[in-house]
């Protein structure tokens, strides 16, 4: 049983989705309980997975041939079902299972076209976990694309008033990113051969083989010796840039971020949660798993660029959050700002920075899930998220106000919550980069700290406007609509609050998992990146 834990995680929701097809559409309760059962089952599997996980390299590996096609003189086309977890994916898989469970509970009140909703949710579930564990580029790409479609329909059918615009924008943006990734994937496929297959040229999608420059076929397009240049960059730099842009759209990075606020504002609450907590992480994950290790030379070449884009995201996202008049939009922009820390940390290529970046992905998953749930609470009651329409909610919703306080303070990086650990590590790592590997200038980390001030400003201003002062409602909201948290909302919010607190006070268990990856990542990118750059 144990070796197949990851497959079990991926295929349980798929099997459930298949089963759901045969359940009559009217049985709303059945779909709910089915989805919940799948999530709870995944939690048990996750516990088993964590119990058998030991800090270190890749484990729980499953490797099976998937597609093998002999192409005659063109070699052999081979893709594998190759999954495993390491320090990068383990925290994200754990986060996914946890957040998916909460999103399933948050979906409880979805009764409109429940069959379609839950089938899509289950497919999304499988695709998210699949993309975090896939180690074969084609398999990753498959899961990556499979995430896109359910999310598109979930926003387009169950979303808010401008859902069509938002869903199409989301779809087109992400599709553009996918195409950029696809181009590089093909380029890599024809440039890399499988060293373990003796005789004959066997191309491979294996991400681990791709990261080793000795597996590159000489005179292939992505061979470091290739003299082909387009404009100022060579092929490998272009390839990195395309991958980077593809993942940066997903992250999202300024200025490729404008799909995010629209998608969040229109998406139903559980989908906002999944989008912010998990789907954005694929961007950072892709950078750390694919773009930077496979093209370490280009990663070093572009590190300042990546970090500057991260800092711009932090500052620009914060400013935009300050100007937002819609609560969900504000939170969406704060996500843009927080994901900027991931870019900054990864670009630093220091143990602190990379640990901080991965920790930020993990922590932001918890905190942003909580933020969007909190925004959903008020939207469920009034169908209005305009900040200016509320005032003095603390007198009518004390428990809700307490939860909002926790979520906002966690997000603005108050020590004691997980976000602080992540951000301080990113700051230390980015600042240290100048003196250890010389990649980033110190000023980048210093400018990034201003995000802390802006974060405090927009969150506390929102608290002041919506929750403090005399109780008052505008925009036709009735005071009777304002009721405090229900039990189900407590069930969703309290675990997230406790998790944010626990991982802020005691980060070691997660860092123990991340750190081997971060160390190995830094060493790989720095040594290989420097050795590969022998340009003619």
């Amino acid at each position: 049983m144990q070796p197949y834990l990851l497959s079990f995680l991926i295929f349980t929701p798929l099997a459930a989705a298949l089963a759901a097809v045969f359940i009559p559409a009217g049985a709303v309760k059945t779909f709910r309980w089915l989805a919940l059962a799948v999530s709870v089952l995944q939690v048990f599997v996750l516990v088993q997975l964590l119990a058998t996980y030991h800090a270190g390299g890749l484990q729980h590996v499953e490797q099976q041939p998937w597609i093998v096609l002999s192409l005659g003189s063109w070699g052999v086309f081979r893709a594998e079902y190759f999954v495993g977890v390491d320090g990068l994916s383990m925290p994200l898989v754990a986060l996914s299972v946890f957040v998916l469970l909460i999103a399933t509970i948050a979906s409880w009140q979805t009764t409109r076209q429940a069959k379609g909703y839950y089938i899509l949710l289950l497919i999304l579930n499988a695709a998210i976990i699949g993309s975090f564990v896939a180690l074969d580029f084609l398999l990753f790409y498959l899961f990556f694309e499979f995430m896109l479609l359910p999310m598109f329909f979930l926003i387009a059918i169950w979303g808010g008033p401008r859902r069509e615009y938002a869903s199409i924008k989301f779809f087109l943006y992400t599709l553009l990113g996918s195409i950029l990734i696809l181009i590089v994937m093909i380029g890599l496929y024809i440039s890399v051969h499988d060293p373990s297959s003796p005789g004959g040229l066997v191309h491979t999608f294996n991400l681990l083989h791709m990261a080793d420059p000795s597996n590159i076929v000489s005179h292939a397009i992505l061979d470091p010796h290739n003299v082909w240049r387009l404009g100022p960059l060579d092929a490998r730099q272009w390839a990195f840039l395309l991958l980077f842009l593809g993942f940066a759209i997903k992250l999202p990075m300024v200025p490729l971020h404008t799909w995010l606020p629209d998608a969040h504002v229109e998406a139903p609450t559980p989908m906002s949660v999944l989008l912010a907590a998990l789907l954005l992480k694929i961007g950072g994950y892709g950078l750390a798993r694919i773009a930077m290790p496979i093209f370490p030379d280009a990663a070093l070449y572009f590190s300042s660029f990546v970090a500057i884009m991260g800092v711009i995201s932090i500052v620009y996202g914060s400013f935009n959050a300050m100007a937002s008049k819609d609560l969900k939009r504000l939170i969406a922009y704060s996500s843009v700002a927080h994901m900027g820390f991931v870019l900054l940390g990864l670009a630093a290529v220091t143990p602190e920075g990379v640990n901080g970046a991965v920790y930020q992905m993990f922590s932001h998953g918890i905190i942003s899930a909580m933020l969007f749930l909190v925004a959903g609470v008020v939207y469920d009651r009034t169908h209005d998220r305009t900040i200016a329409h509320y005032s003095g909610l603390s007198s009518r919703m004390p428990a809700y106000t307490a939860m909002v306080l926790v979520a906002f303070f966690a997000s603005l990086g108050l020590p004691g919550f997980s976000g602080f650990i992540a951000e301080i590590l990113v700051f230390l790592g980015a600042f240290k980069s100048a003196s250890t590997n010389g990649l980033l200038h110190e000023s980048l980390a210093i400018i990034a700290t201003s995000g802390l001030v802006f974060g405090a400003a927009y969150y506390l201003w929102t608290l002041q406007r919506m929750f403090f002062g005399p109780f008052d409602l505008k925009g036709g909201i009735q005071p009777t609509q304002i009721t405090d948290l229900t039990v189900r909302e407590y069930i969703q919010l309290v675990p997230l609050a406790l998790a944010a607190l626990a991982f802020g006070v005691w980060p070691q268990p997660v860092l123990d998992i991340i750190d081997p990856f971060a160390q190995q990542f830094c060493e790989h990118v720095l040594t290989v990146g420097k050795s590969v750059t022998f340009k003619p």
């Binding site: 404008t258 400013f319 100007a323 020590p415 602080f420 980390a445 403090f468 005691w506």
Partner: protein, 664 residues
């Protein structure tokens, strides 16, 4: 988690379970109080107030015991917090006389505030939150005081900011309270960003945040400081000082403290005496060894500017609590100045004495406000009880409060026989030596300090005169009662602490158990400076009496608005920032999304064009070809109509054409 204990004293105090128990009680009880208070609903107020006060009292006893044990030694306890590979982030305790005494002070003031609040906050709807935050505030401050690690200090530093946010904004229905709370937190955050940059610099330079290692090895740190460049050391120290500027309300970030008056008055006492603004000065004292001469000059200048501006502003305020707030800022500037002059011990002494008399002043002010509010209750009088222009002559109605206010006010003004005189004297002496023999800008700082002490006497006298002396104004018709013992007890204790004997037995000499300066020349000091500063304050008192004996109100807008610095922030910086935020939103909407929409429109237009091309050109060509073929076909088909006459006609026609062709 394994415990890594470093024992720096042969008595193995760090191994003593008794000592560790005390330490645990000191840190744990306020936190426990915070957690327990949250469990009870606000209507169980007796349970909440009694329980939390008892917990704090126990904590105070433990702290006093701890102080006794570490009085001549120090204990370093280090625990790993988290680590990345071999980079470790540890935490732990560094208990020496400085920190243990501070812990006693914090718990003492906090305990008194707990007692005082039982009446002041009686029947408050959110009493459990209030008491929980008081406990948490105390806990956070103790964290700053007792920690050994800069990063841990930063953690608690921010938690202090959070607690003050909650307490300043305690009355959530008041918009002004919410504004003040936000302002306090954001201003503190600005300073904290500097602190973080300082952390980065020390991390890169030394790979350690251990305060003990960074500062304590007899001033010269072979291991850590030696390979610092002087510039980086200065930069690091100044970045840490940014945190102090925010937390201790120094120029230019001091504007949050006067606004923080929106919180309940006992909270103000706590903030001003022990738990919040004291943190900055304490940190300066603690990390003094990290400061280079250049950075100390900046510290001294900041201190004198703050002290002067705030003292001037205090002269013109009309709000009872705001006068006290500006006085706190001014006194903090005084302490910071002392640190800048290389006399952290003198600053610490002043921090200690200031805690007593300032807490006392605030609690007295709270008594006045509370008593007048109660007196107003049920009458038609609804004047602002905090506005000193409405007050006067209260010495008859509130004799106890008056007495305590005069005692603590005298300490603030620095009259002989009061604690403030001694600590102020210590600072002035330090400045005297620091300024040097030849004239330099340091003489101006020294002169500024003297001016501040003059102004302090002036505004203190004005405050007492406005509130307690002269004729009663709006309060004439009210029946005012002194508050109950819950509020008078703490005031009495603090007033007692404002006398000289807490510092030293000799009322004119600051040498005592708290302060043993290394370099101050005793003879010179006692002969000259005591005389001068004593006379100086008396002159100030005379001037104040001359100015303020009539009940007139000088209206100086510049001072009332504290040099318009706050206006500058709210009207310039804040609005500009918001304008910038709106600009980014516009960029998003108009440029980025606008660009996308144009691309989309372009795409759709192109699609229409290609559609038109398909329809008109390609399909048109195909259709035209088809039509041509059809025309030709139908034309040729018409040859084969199936009628014999037609065939004959075509045959004849063909023959005729053929004949014409061949014959001509």
């Amino acid at each position: 988690m394994s415990k890594e204990v470093i024992i720096n004293n042969p008595d193995t105090l760090a191994d003593s379970e008794y000592f560790l128990g005390c330490l645990l009680l000191v840190v744990g009880l306020p936190l426990l109080s915070a957690l327990l208070c949250r469990l009870f609903p606000a209507r169980r107020q007796n349970v909440i107030t009694t329980l939390s006060s008892l917990l704090l009292l126990t904590g105070l006893a433990a702290a006093a015991n701890m102080l006794r044990m570490v009085y001549d030694t120090h204990v370093v306890l280090k625990f790993p917090w988290f680590h990345l590979g071999d980079l470790s982030f540890s935490t732990g305790f560094f208990v020496d006389r400085t920190s243990a005494l501070m812990a006693v002070l914090v718990l003492f003031v906090s305990f008194l505030v707990h007692i005082y609040s039982t009446r002041y906050m009686k029947d408050d709807g959110a009493l459990s939150r209030y008491y929980a935050m008081l406990g948490f505030f105390t806990f956070s401050m103790l964290g700053i005081v007792l920690t050994i690690d800069l990063l841990t200090m930063f953690v608690f530093w921010e938690l202090v900011g959070f607690s003050s946010y909650m307490l300043i904004g305690h009355w959530q229905h008041l918009p002004s309270a919410a504004t003040a709370a936000r302002k306090a937190f954001v201003m503190n955050r600005i300073g904290d960003v500097g602190f973080i940059v300082g952390l980065m610099i020390y991390w890169v330079q030394s790979g350690s945040f251990d305060i003990y290692l960074l500062t304590f090895i007899d001033g010269n740190n072979p291991e850590f400081i030696s390979d610092y460049s002087q510039g980086l050391q200065t930069a690091g120290a100044l970045c840490l000082f940014c945190g102090v500027i925010g937390k201790s309300a120094q120029f230019p970030l001091f504007t949050w403290l006067p606004d923080a008056m929106e919180g309940p008055t006992p909270v103000s006492a706590l903030i001003h005496a022990a738990t919040m603004v004291a943190a900055g000065v304490f940190m300066l004292v603690r990390l003094h060894a990290l400061f280079t001469p250049a950075s100390l000059d900046v510290v001294a200048l900041t201190g004198v500017v703050t002290a002067l501006l705030a003292a001037l502003a205090a002269l013109a305020q009309t709000d009872l609590k705001k006068i006290l707030a500006y006085s706190t800022i001014s006194q903090l500037g005084f302490m910071v100045m002392a640190v800048g002059a290389g006399a952290p011990d003198a600053a610490y002494l002043h921090l200690f004495t200031h805690a007593f008399f300032k807490a006392c002043l605030f609690l007295c002010a709270g008594s006045v406000i509370h008593a007048l509010h109660e007196a107003q209750h049920g009458t038609h009088a609804h004047f602002d009880v905090q506005d000193v222009r409405n007050l006067g002559g209260l010495r008859h109605k509130l004799p106890f409060t008056f007495a305590a206010f005069v005692v603590s006010g005298a300490a603030l003004a620095g009259l002989p026989f009061f604690s403030g005189f001694l600590s102020k004297d210590a600072i002035l002496t330090a400045l005297l030596y620091w300024k040097g023999e030849t004239f330099s800008w340091r003489w101006l700082v020294f002169g500024g300090a003297f001016l501040v002490s003059f102004l302090t006497a002036l505004y203190t006298f004005r405050l007492i005169a406005k509130v307690f002396l002269g004729e009663e104004r709006e309060t004439t018709s009210l029946t005012v009662h002194e508050p109950s013992w819950h509020m008078r007890g703490p005031i009495a204790l603090l007033a007692l602490g404002s006398f000289w004997f807490f510092v030293s037995w000799n009322p004119l000499n600051y040498h005592g158990w708290l302060y043993q300066p290394a370099k101050a020349d005793e003879n010179f000091h006692s002969a000259l400076l005591v005389f001068i500063s004593g006379a100086w304050v008396l002159i100030a008192g005379a001037v104040a009496y001359y100015i303020f004996r009539q009940p007139r109100t000088a209206h100086v807008p510049l001072l009332l608005n504290s040099f318009y610095i706050d206006k500058l922030y709210t009207q310039t910086v804040a609005t500009r920032t918001y304008a910038l935020a709106l600009l980014t939103e516009k960029i998003d909407r108009r440029w980025i999304d606008g660009f996308l929409h144009y691309v989309a429109y372009g795409q759709v237009t192109l699609a229409h064009l290609t559609g038109w091309f398909d329809r008109v050109i390609i399909d048109g060509t195909v259709n035209a070809l088809a039509a041509l073929v059809r025309t030709v076909g139908s034309f040729t088909r018409s040859f084969q109509g199936g009628k014999i006459q037609l065939y004959i006609f075509w045959s004849v026609l063909a023959i005729i054409i053929f004949l014409i062709w061949t014959l001509f």
